[in-house]
């Protein structure tokens, strides 16, 4: 669904024009989704400059491979997946994930209360997440935001499922501690 003002009446028309490599349609698509996708990229890599590079590579991929979107699911979902993959590729190339600590699963999940979020804004939350250790941040993003299972995360990051659980748990606690500090 088109949510911003473009010359294309609906998403279908916009995608059809993008398929024809229409530069105006490509720009419209970029303007429509780039703020969300840049936010996603920053969440994964933590740095705005690096996120810009991922945004660039991601959109090039989108425009070159748009014909592989078969229309069966949501276009935004397809788009997000490309940007997540591009961000993970960038992290992998930078050896960020290689040194992700293999944490043992203590078996006891630490519980975090949602009330700690209080009145924090999304911008403040973004800043906090971008300062998380890379391993915590990646697992937290994949599980909490993208909805990956621990099995999928384990395969993606080449870590054990237990380590994925453990990193997620510690990421939540890390975030809770920072939120509490902020609330004081």
């Amino acid at each position: 669904m088109i949510t911003s003002k473009t010359e294309f009446p609906d998403e279908k028309e916009l995608l059809r024009a993008c398929l024809k490599q229409d530069p105006r349609a490509q720009r419209s698509l970029y303007e429509l989704y780039s703020p969300k996708m840049l936010s996603l990229c920053i969440r994964y890599v933590g740095e705005r400059e690096r996120a810009r590079d991922i945004l660039h590579d991601g959109f090039i991929t989108v425009f070159e491979k748009i014909e592989s979107f078969n229309g069966s699911g949501s276009f935004e979902g397809w788009l997000r997946r490309i940007f997540v993959n591009t961000a993970l590729m960038s992290l992998r190339k930078g050896d960020v994930l290689k040194y992700t600590e293999e944490l043992s699963d203590s078996g006891k999940e630490l519980t975090v209360e949602s009330s700690v979020l209080g009145n924090i804004t999304s911008t403040e939350l973004m800043r906090l997440i971008s300062t998380m250790p890379a391993g915590f941040r990646t697992v937290f993003n994949l599980f909490a935001i993208e909805g990956y299972s621990h099995q999928e995360i384990a395969k993606e990051l080449k870590i054990s499922e237990g380590s994925s659980r453990s990193q997620l748990s510690r990421a939540r606690v890390w975030l809770q501690d920072r939120l509490k500090e902020k609330g004081r």
């Binding site: 810009r52 660039h56 979020l117």
Partner: protein, 416 residues
């Protein structure tokens, strides 16, 4: 429950969050897209232009490739008087006599007093004799040349009707296009036998060369997963069973095809003065790199495909002199995949694997080339060409991703 609630709230807050990119971000993307688009268009146009040019030239060549090769002799090259001491076969003399007085060029020659020497009583003059004009000082050298020419066997002279009617009759038998002068020219063409073009066209040759195909590297993310299957570029249809084991099926990102390299040896046999047939054997390596970003696999795969092939080409000469030869070529190649080799990096660990390749790869090619003669028997050649590779269910490579390719072949030819 608390954790899931926490995750849900974080997700809700972040899903709506937006970060405005810099104004220059789109410009950078647009420039990159335009550059890629131009690259594709340029490649396509070049391929079409090259194919059309080759086809048109081949057609022109076939149209012009008639039996009439002997042209009117140049007055500069054939400014000749036959001296007393030269020995011209009687058959050639006959033609000259018959032609005497009819050619304007010959009349012109006869008017040059400095070149007219004492000539045998018959006053044989010729434009086509290729005997040098002979001032007395040069007489000796000319005689040497003449002796070389006279080595050829001349048919024993038959008793001929030397009357003008008899001469005319023989001329008529020779055909309307064959003047007396041309007959001599043809005769000498056969006699001398030292023309490089004649030598090159009439001998077989062996060529040894290497071939590279500069190709556009691709850089893509292709979604093939359960939820995204059905894309227009279905990798699983292209790759063989071998490749399926090593090339990620769900998501392939940053696929790069490197420049193919071939080496080979070929024999060419002449089919005529202009056309020759070449065949041989070549060995080709195709390199590809895959960075796998699938949700199930994370690895880098370096693929090397080994092919051995038999090219069959027809070559048509366009131009040939002592230093260089230009020609067109066209034909097909059939290749058998020998082995697919995979070097796989996973989490810093390296391992190797591979398997045989089934089926044959067929391709068509057309090109134009030049050969520079290094010496009498050796030539350095350069053959740019365009090749089209058919979809023969071979492992994924630059040939399946980009079936139309430019090839540049470089090597030596040894003329036997």
């Amino acid at each position: 429950m608390g954790n899931l609630e926490f995750d849900k709230r974080v997700r809700e807050m972040l899903e709506g969050h937006q970060e405005m990119p810099d104004s220059s971000s789109w410009d950078s993307i647009a420039r990159d897209l335009e550059r890629r688009r131009r690259g594709r268009v340029l490649y396509f146009r070049r391929s079409i232009t090259a194919a059309v040019a080759v086809a048109a030239t081949l057609a022109l060549l076939l149209f012009l490739d008639g039996p009439e090769e002997v042209t009117a002799p140049s007055p500069l090259k054939h400014d000749i008087i036959v001296s007393e001491k030269t020995t011209v076969p009687e058959s050639a003399k006959e033609s000259i006599r018959a032609d005497a007085g009819t050619s304007p060029i010959r009349a012109h020659k006869a008017e040059k007093p400095s070149q007219i020497k004492v000539i045998k009583n018959e006053e044989i003059t010729s434009l086509a004799q290729e005997r040098v004009v002979t001032p007395e000082k040069e007489q000796q050298a000319v005689e040497v040349q003449v002796k070389q020419v006279d080595i050829i066997k001349v048919e024993p002279e038959q008793k001929r009707d030397e009357t003008p009617a008899g001469v005319k009759e023989r001329q008529r038998e020779a055909g309307p296009g064959k003047t007396g002068a041309q007959s001599v020219e043809e005769y000498l063409f056969k006699v001398r036998g030292d023309s490089r073009s004649t030598r090159k066209h009439s001998k077989a040759l062996i060529a040894m060369g290497t071939n590279i195909s500069p190709s556009m590297a691709s850089n893509s993310v292709t979604l093939m997963g359960v939820s995204q299957a059905g894309g227009s570029y279905n990798l699983s249809n292209v790759v063989s069973t071998i490749q399926k084991a090593y090339v990620p099926l769900e998501v392939v990102s940053n696929t790069k095809f490197l420049m193919p390299v071939s080496v080979g040896i070929q024999v060419q046999l002449p089919l005529g003065k202009v056309v020759s047939l070449g065949s041989g054997v070549n060995y080709t390596l195709l390199f590809s790199n895959y960075d796998d970003l699938s949700r199930e696999e994370t690895r880098q795969t370096h693929q090397t495909l080994h092919y051995i092939g038999v090219p069959v080409n027809v070559y048509a000469n366009l131009f040939n002199n002592e230093n260089i030869r230009f020609y067109l070529s066209g034909g097909f190649t059939v290749e058998k995949g020998l082995y697919a080799h995979y070097k796989i990096f996973e989490n810093g660990e390296k391992r190797w694997s591979g398997n045989s390749i089934e089926g044959l790869q067929w391709s068509l090619n057309a090109g134009a080339g030049a050969e520079f003669y290094v010496n009498r028997n050796t030539g350095l050649y350069f053959d740019p060409s365009v090749a089209y590779f058919f979809n023969n269910n071979q492992p994924l490579s630059i040939r399946s991703a980009q079936p139309l390719q430019f090839k540049f072949e470089l090597g030596f030819r040894f003329h036997l």
